[in-house]
Symmetry: C2
Subunit: 67 residues, 2 copies
Amino acid sequence: MKTTLEVKGMTCGHCQSSVKGALEGLAGVQNAEVDLATGKVDVSYDESQVTLTDMREAVEEQGYDVA
Amino acid sequence: MKTTLEVKGMTCGHCQSSVKGALEGLAGVQNAEVDLATGKVDVSYDESQVTLTDMREAVEEQGYDVA
């Protein structure tokens, strides 16, 4: 499955890395690509292993909001 | 000795930590306090061990400009 999250508050490459790392650290997330300029994060995942709620919580734990 | 560096380009807490860590990682730097809002970094250091040039280079290596 693929989804696009809209993440608010990322300001720099460190933020980008934090969000990417948090998502890719979840079991079932295969890939997360962050566009810093737009805040859009394209995620490939296995829906039998991870939910959108899991992803949202992982991003929020890093201190960013998900639209 | 104490000095204040003016660092440009820090946008978030990660940037703040990077700059603080880079400076405090230099032998002879005792403490570096970063004010993210103003970009001012107050540094306490031993001038027999570390130079202003060393500090400037350490910050620039993290990707920030020093005024």
